[in-house]
């Protein structure tokens, strides 16, 4: 991919010209207003093929809103979202998933009424009313292998309520992976995880990238995240304030000001 988004983006002015082919996922001039509140303000950035992008910002910076506009939870007020060169602005959540962009929920949204493996299996169900792919048999085996992939192989028959916090995160990842995505948006994976758990989840995300997945990881906390990501986009008050490699981000005065010596 080209390098000009990097150079231009660091100024924080959202008027940089991004084209549909500047990355797997390209967001241009995205704005989302709720009444008088501007949650996302003319935000532009691109996610490149097979990178792990950190999408960072303090609390309330508009990360989740950006995320929700991209994944079809609600339409942006203005701006464009491209995925794999196609304009997908305002597409509904399931359409985004079917075009290859899966997500996890920050607040964890397992289906409490079924087991871990059945939760993952729901991601394998084709979006058709009549399908011969039963939830038993082959689908069950594929679901079980995805569970093993995300480290839940020994807990297939537990219910989500019996899983610890880290297990629920793995379940979110498993269900997203079951939709066979090219790109995964991971919302706040490290919140509430212990040090070793952060390490092990980071390892899993790196493995997924090595298998060909592109990842965008949202977090307000840079600890743990900076060692995982290849590149970061930092936003505050809905607008981009910095973009670049983890080291540059750490040194950036504006980022330091935004965090006010917080957890950098």
């Amino acid at each position: 991919m080209s390098t000009e988004p990097d150079a231009a983006g660091a100024t924080g002015e959202g008027t940089v010209g991004y084209g549909p082919d500047d990355g797997v996922l390209v967001i241009e001039n995205l704005t989302k207003r709720f009444g008088g509140l501007t949650a996302v303000d003319d935000l532009s950035f691109a996610v490149r093929e097979r990178e792990i992008l950190g999408f960072i910002g303090p609390n309330g910076a508009g990360k989740s809103t950006t995320f929700n506009c991209v994944t079809g939870r609600y339409p942006p007020t203005s701006g464009t979202v491209w995925y794999r060169g196609e304009d997908v602005t305002g597409e509904s959540a399931h359409e985004m998933v079917n075009s290859g962009l899966a997500r996890t929920f920050q607040e964890f949204r397992p289906l409490h009424d079924r087991t871990v493996v059945e939760n993952v299996a729901i991601g394998l169900v084709p979006d058709r009313l009549f399908s011969l792919a039963g939830l038993r048999g082959e689908t069950g085996q594929r679901a079980a292998s995805i569970c093993r992939r995300v480290g839940l192989g020994d807990r297939l028959e537990l219910t989500p309520d019996e899983l610890p916090h880290a297990g629920l995160l793995r379940l979110e990842l498993g269900r997203a992976l079951a939709t066979d995505p090219d790109m995964l948006l991971v919302d706040e994976p490290f919140a509430g995880l212990s040090g070793p758990e952060v390490e092990s989840v980071s390892g899993l995300l790196r493995e997924l990238r090595d298998e060909g997945l592109t990842l965008a990881v949202v977090d307000h906390n840079m600890r743990g995240l900076l060692s995982l990501i290849d590149r970061a986009v930092v936003i505050n008050f809905g607008a981009k304030i910095a973009e670049g490699a983890p080291e540059e981000i750490r040194q950036d005065p504006e980022v330091q000001r935004a965090y006010l010596g917080g957890d950098l």
């Binding site: 207003r33 709720f34 009444g35 008088g36 509140l37 949650a39 609390n59 309330g60 910076a61 990360k63 989740s64 809103t65 929700n68 079809g72 939870r73 609600y74 339409p75 007020t77 509904s92 959540a93 399931h94 359409e95 998933v97 079917n98 899966a102 997500r103 929920f105 920050q106 607040e107 949204r109 397992p110 289906l111 409490h112 009424d113 079924r114 087991t115 059945e118 299996a121 729901i122 991601g123 169900v125 084709p126 979006d127 009313l129 009549f130 399908s131 792919a133 039963g134 939830l135 028959e157 537990l158 219910t159 309520d161 019996e162 269900r175 997203a176 079951a178 939709t179 919140a191 509430g192």
Partner: protein, 435 residues
């Protein structure tokens, strides 16, 4: 008999590793039940034709012609309950007006027969088609509504239809309904055994179709919608498509039962039998009592709710304190029994029976009590209540996030603020965006 899409089965299964063996037991029990229903009229047949094939034990089950017709009527009511269950029990979109679909099916078929002389066999499919169309008319706009608002729409729809029937009484017969159309295949009161078997065959057919749908992957999606629609969308599945499908399937099945019912001696195209609010409500009671979200439970509940008052009506025992014969307070007793059952077994009769059976089995195998630390899985009724509460809270601007933010210490850092505002903005929809 029912597959383990039942919520709590998952939890129970861990406690008994031998579930693989206990599963067939449920199927066997179900098949025995169906077989008993199938041979129910045999003694009557034997009595009439005095043939001695295997009339040994079953003599005691001998039913009068009147009782056979009652059970036939119960089959149709059970079909109504099953049709409600496939949309409301499974996807959690509670319909308070399923009579709308029964009436569309029944009236269409009856009118075609009475007015144009169309044979019942041809008129019934037309009734099914009109009912399915009604499912589209109600179901598609309902996609925009969540929780109790959808239910309000379904509550009003039958009232609109009833008003139309009354307004055009010349055509629809008003509140009294239409006269009886021709009987299906000419099977009338003179042949109660055939009336019974037609009802039984349709009952089994609908049971089979609905079991097939709900035990396929579509059924798993239905129950997932009941649990969390956003999670379903995040799995790449279009919730609207599956909800519409459930609605139309349910309407078609309800319409079929209504259409066939009017062409039998046990039912007529009358609002009191198809369209009245009481019909819609009794169908809900039946499905919840039997076991919402299981189809089989709705079938059992339908039979119980229809036959129990009929049975109580024949009891001559006089209740001491009230000094009233049971037959006079049959509906009161029925309502009290229904209430008690709902309190004792909130998941329905079927779930309770399955759980008791499992506990017995695991006791006999010497397995300890289940140590499944997790909370008890929620019943579908509880899931629906949760949906309704969050829908109302969102409308009133009291998002559940606010509460969580203040009670959850780890996240009391305001991180949820953007989320909450986002949620509220979402619910208020596009209109706030424009200001």
């Amino acid at each position: 008999m029912s597959d383990d899409t039942l919520g709590e089965d998952a939890a129970v299964e861990q406690s008994s590793p031998a579930t693989g063996r206990s599963l067939p037991a449920r199927y066997v029990a179900g098949l025995i039940g169906l077989a008993l229903l199938a041979v129910l009229p045999v003694p009557s047949l034997l009595g009439v034709e005095s043939v001695t094939l295997f009339g040994t034990v079953t003599i005691t089950f001998g039913l009068s012609s009147y009782q056979l017709l009652q059970v036939a009527g119960a089959f149709y009511f059970a079909m109504f309950a099953m049709s409600w269950d496939v949309v409301s029990g499974y996807t959690g979109q509670i319909s308070f007006g399923h009579g709308f679909f029964f009436a569309l099916g029944g009236y269409t078929s009856a009118l075609l027969n009475l007015t144009y002389g169309v044979a019942p066999l041809a008129a019934i499919p037309a009734g099914v088609a009109v009912a399915a169309l009604g499912g589209v008319v109600i179901g598609v706009p309902a996609l925009r509504l969540r929780g109790p608002y959808l239910s309000l729409v379904t509550l009003v729809a039958p009232q609109v239809l009833l008003s139309v029937f009354i307004l055009f009484s010349g055509t629809f017969g008003g509140e009294l309904g239409l006269s009886s159309p021709d009987n299906l295949l000419g099977v009338g009161l003179g042949n109660p055994v055939l009336v019974y078997y037609i009802a039984f065959a349709l009952f089994v057919a609908i049971l089979a179709v609905l079991l097939a749908v709900t035990r396929s992957s579509a059924g798993a999606v239905f129950t997932a919608i009941r649990e969390d629609e956003d999670a379903v969308a995040a799995a790449g599945l279009n919730p609207a498509k599956f909800k519409t499908f459930a609605f139309v399937l349910s309407a078609a099945v309800g319409g079929l039962a209504g259409a066939v019912l009017v062409h039998t001696p046990v039912g007529n195209p009358q609002p009191s039998q198809l369209l009245a609010t009481q019909v819609s409500i009794e169908v809900i009671i039946a499905a919840i009592l039997g076991g919402m979200g299981t189809i089989v439970g709705a079938a059992i509940g339908g039979l119980i709710v229809y036959l129990l008052p009929e049975y109580l009506n024949t009891v001559e025992y006089v209740v001491p304190v009230l000094d009233a014969p049971v037959s006079e307070i049959d509906f009161l007793l029925f309502a009290v029994i229904a209430l008690v059952l709902l309190f004792v077994m909130p998941g329905g009769v079927l779930r309770a029976a399955l759980r008791i059976a499992r506990d017995r089995l695991s006791d006999r195998r010497g397995e300890g009590v289940a140590a499944d630390g997790g909370r008890r899985a929620r019943t579908p009724v509880e899931q629906v209540r949760e949906r309704w509460r969050s829908a109302v809270e969102r409308t009133l601007g009291r998002g559940p996030d606010r509460e969580r933010r203040t009670t959850d210490g780890r996240r009391s850092d305001g991180r949820r603020a953007d989320d909450r505002d986002a949620n509220r903005g979402h619910e208020n929809g596009g209109d706030t965006d424009e200001h």
